[in-house]
Symmetry: C2
Subunit: 385 residues, 2 copies
Amino acid sequence: MSIFTASATAPVNIATLKYWGKRDKTLNLPTNSSISVTLDQNDLRTLTSAATSPDFKSDNLWLNGKEEGIKGERTIACLRDLKKLRKELEDQNPSLPKLSEWGLHIVSENNFPTAAGLASSAAGFAALVSAIAKLYELPQSMSEISKIARKGSGSACRSLFGGYVAWEMGDKEDGSDSKAVEVAPVDHWPSMKAAILVVSDDKKDTPSTTGMQSTVATSDLFQYRIKEVVPKRFEDMKKAIQDRDFEVFGDLTMKDSNSFHAVCLDSVPPIFYLNDTSKKIIKLIHKLNEQEGKIVAAYTFDAGPNAVVYYEEQNENKVLGLIHKYFSKVPGWEKVTEKKSQFIDSNIEFDTDAYKGVSRIILTGIGPGPQSTDQSLVNDKGLPK
Amino acid sequence: MSIFTASATAPVNIATLKYWGKRDKTLNLPTNSSISVTLDQNDLRTLTSAATSPDFKSDNLWLNGKEEGIKGERTIACLRDLKKLRKELEDQNPSLPKLSEWGLHIVSENNFPTAAGLASSAAGFAALVSAIAKLYELPQSMSEISKIARKGSGSACRSLFGGYVAWEMGDKEDGSDSKAVEVAPVDHWPSMKAAILVVSDDKKDTPSTTGMQSTVATSDLFQYRIKEVVPKRFEDMKKAIQDRDFEVFGDLTMKDSNSFHAVCLDSVPPIFYLNDTSKKIIKLIHKLNEQEGKIVAAYTFDAGPNAVVYYEEQNENKVLGLIHKYFSKVPGWEKVTEKKSQFIDSNIEFDTDAYKGVSRIILTGIGPGPQSTDQSLVNDKGLPK
């Protein structure tokens, strides 16, 4: 059996300047540019193996051990684009095997529980296009490949790079200029750390696509956000990253998270992603920064109640000291058992029951983009191991 | 002992187009015009008696049975303005007793518990200026008197009228054109009802003056709200009241409440007044309107978690039927014991524990402005009875 395989891992990214609003739903073209930090794949990543063979009659997909098939239009759009690029190569060089004509088997797994409520679609689509691009030996740049990932899930395009990443919204109707670019690599500012407080919630959040459509259609404040607020913030945040200026970076990150949730609240009907626990965490971080007299930690919240707190490594004992004081009972601290003795005790007062609203903490940092790997999820028949 | 006394009652008003932002903190001049509905004084009112006598050496104030003295700058500003107007009268007619030169005793009581967290300062300052204006036999119009109440508490100016009231922001620096006017009297649209769900909250809210100052200084979205969103909404809402169009009125009321809370969230640090119970009530009202296929109930939230739900009397059995289904255990339903049999049962599903976040319900309706009353809180010595 002639079979070709390739595997890649891709990271989760958490926006510091939020993507909220599509100007084209099919192509996932955004109403504003956005910026994100790529997180360390040791803690959060998707591993995807892609296999192809003349014996595979059709495309198929297995996610976290379950056969899903190729159902979603977005997945279909990604595969179509990737096969088209492969076809171009084959047309240029007829000696190449005709992979573009064969079925694709895709097997994908996350190293974190889906139940954590972390947006896994970004890492998922980034790993999918990375694995297939590698399988097809595509010569395109990561920015080019990011346009394909973008069609799978908008924010997935940002997971094609490590470090600090911008998604330039572009203005062309076909989306050919709506792509991810590197703002700065990991080693430009490697001290960035992230603590993710996974907040329990009994209600089901509004799906982000639905929420975006509603905000675009109904919020008065939204138009001002995308036209006036974000364009300036986009430039300011890129500069803060270039300058490694955490105070400006953190200030803009918190402002933009709140601005995004504000336009959600201004939608009809209003959309709420922050719950009372989220709000407590927001207040805690502001208290810390106030006590320090400068911004040493910055929260951001996506379309859900989970808090992501960014901070620099040199402030870790202060920031984690405070968080640990009030959230020591949640799982996830094992990773830093040896560091705990250095945590700085805080005299900040806080709701001692707040930890009950948090299910776990994930301590991580900044990391690189997609990686090739020899670890494969497919066996020699092109099926999940 | 020569003593002059007068008493007046004044109502609570709840804004449907929110006042949020001061352009002058001392004069309480707002950054936008606002609109409110005046509530029935049978349920919520302040009664104030004012007494003056040549024997009173200084001004004094008793609130809800407690001697407070005249401490606040805002109260002092109101008394100064009222005495100045009285002085003009005395100068024009020297036969008048020189009340403007004597001390004032002011005794004030609410007919609702302060603990309810309902903004009582509007009714309080409206009753204070009404009682003293009556005592001084001032000839000024209610709009003129409203400017004095405004200096006490911005929204108090709207409690000088019954029915539907606008506070025109004005643009003069001295505030001489920032006053309340009647949009429509009670009998123009008397079927308006209000159900107030008093939401329990363990945290202390940001005081509204502090919150406003912060929003004005730090929210990007706020500027757009006051310049673009509110001016149009102000005209649209006045028209909806004139047309007795509950669908438009309710839609704008809910939108404006959410817009106000959105700019609070967009402030640095963010200000949160809505809690998880508030959000549940918001969702419940949207579910009801969705089921009805039209807006039959509209919520609004001031600077706190309490919900005020407006509806028209013809939909009372539907609206209260739904609210009663899920909040029957909270006190306040005694008033409608006889009506309960007509409540329409709802099949809307809702959190059956939500009532735990509500401490009482106040069922009321629209009502008139300040009223003269023979009921006096002062004895023949000008002290609290």
